[in-house]
């Protein structure tokens, strides 16, 4: 693909802290390379702001290779921008043309309050994991890995669910701000495997209860989450969560 440079207008949400009233600020960046990643473009902009003695824009990032789940950003009306199954850090500037205006907003959810600018507090996800997204392992010598037979299909589905990086794009994309795709993936990856069986029932009930407590919305099966998920997590995991919930709810005393 041919390399080119571009000048862009950026409309970015600025908010000093969680209590402050935020607003959009407009910035111009020049000579942005089509080979840059979206976050590198933000680095250029922040260098520019620092040189002008202005406050740089706060945004979440860590590995910058699409696997950690830290980057967020709602870019031009879509979480992680216009590319499918892609994170913001792996979005490259060749997705845009010279002269484009790009609107960048933080994730919008009651359960993800804005900390600063484009950084939101996603510890609600951590608390859902703490409520049941774990397995109990007895002490003693590790047994032989092959002692527990796992059907290939279950191993594959558990692996696909475990690909979730917990970035929160599902919540950001959902018109209801529902976290069902995240919770569905986290319940599925353990429920499908023998190691996850002992807590299978309490897990789903506790994680759903925590999800509700955090203030996420209810799923209405628009499947926007699956379409926007950078890891392509399937809504089949939501159905599995529903089924696990029915099973555990009817079985509990």
């Amino acid at each position: 693909m041919e390399h080119y440079n571009m000048n862009l207008t950026l409309k970015i949400w600025r908010q000093a802290n969680s209590g402050a009233k935020g607003s959009f600020e407009t910035y111009q960046v020049k000579d942005i390379s089509s080979e840059m990643s979206f976050l590198e473009m933000f680095d250029v902009l922040n260098e520019q702001l620092i040189a002008e003695n202005k406050e740089p824009i706060a945004f979440d990032h860590d590995c910058r290779e699409g696997i950690c789940g830290m980057c967020s950003m709602y870019i031009n009306g879509q979480p992680h921008g216009p590319w499918k199954q892609n994170t913001t850090c792996q979005l490259h500037m060749r997705a845009f043309k010279d002269g484009d205006t790009i609107v960048v907003e933080p994730w919008r959810s009651r359960a993800f309050p804005v900390i600063k600018d484009l950084v939101v507090d996603r510890t609600a996800f951590d608390r859902i994991i703490q409520a049941g997204g774990y397995i109990s392992v007895d002490t003693g010598n590790a047994q032989d890995a092959n002692a527990l037979p796992v059907p290939k299909k279950d191993a594959d589905n558990a692996f696909l669910a475990a690909a979730c990086i917990g970035c929160g794009a599902c919540v950001a994309a959902c018109k209801n701000g529902s976290a069902m795709l995240f919770v569905g993936a986290k319940v599925s990856q353990l429920a499908l495997l023998p190691q996850g069986k002992p807590e299978r029932e309490t897990r789903v009930l506790n994680m759903v209860a925590q999800m509700d407590k955090e203030g996420f919305g209810n799923c209405t099966n628009t499947y926007a989450c699956e379409a926007e998920c950078p890891k392509g997590i399937s809504v089949a995991n939501i159905a599995r969560l529903n089924l696990e919930y029915i099973h555990a709810g009817l079985n509990s005393e």
Partner: protein, 221 residues
Amino acid sequence: MTWKQFFSASVGKKFTVALTGIFLILFLIVHAGVNSAIFVGRDDFNNIAHFMSHNYIVRILEIGLFVGIFLHIIQALIVWRQNAAARPVGYHMSKANKNSTWYSRSMGLLGTLILLFLIMHMSHFFVGTKVALYLEDDAPHDLYEKMREVFSNGYIVIIYLISLVALFWHLMHGFQSAFQTLGLNHKRFTPLIKTIGVGYTIIITLLFASMPLAFYFKWIE
């Protein structure tokens, strides 16, 4: 876990919407099927209408129907209100059309249109039939004649057709959505459910649309 906890959780509330939704889907088959008797003949239709309004099993099911509609609406309203609260600050720019269909996001609006229609629909047919039940039985209620009278008004026919468009899109999402909510998402069954859902939706809405049109354009006497 109590029953209350089970059904009041986010997932549980949707079970109610899905189960009552499937019940209403089944009801529409009976409703459309029975009404299709107008194409057979006036007396046949009136006989079936008489049976439906006098049979005790049907009348008990009718109570279930009202409970079903009520639960479907109440639960959906609670879900809708909670969902609106889950995003207090909206997006400046949102390309929702890139990730979901407009009708899957508009179930509340479509449902409200159907509810408004139902109020009018009940005042047209249900109330009259019920009143007739408590009057003398020597002059049987002529529902066929009542339909002809109502559907001689072009404006009412248009309102019925618009409402059927709302029902069409409501079912296009609702049919397959109910199965997903109840935990059925399967490589082989889900495509089948979706195809049956589309077929059901097209047949049911066309069948219902044919009735006011048949009376208005005098396709049947």
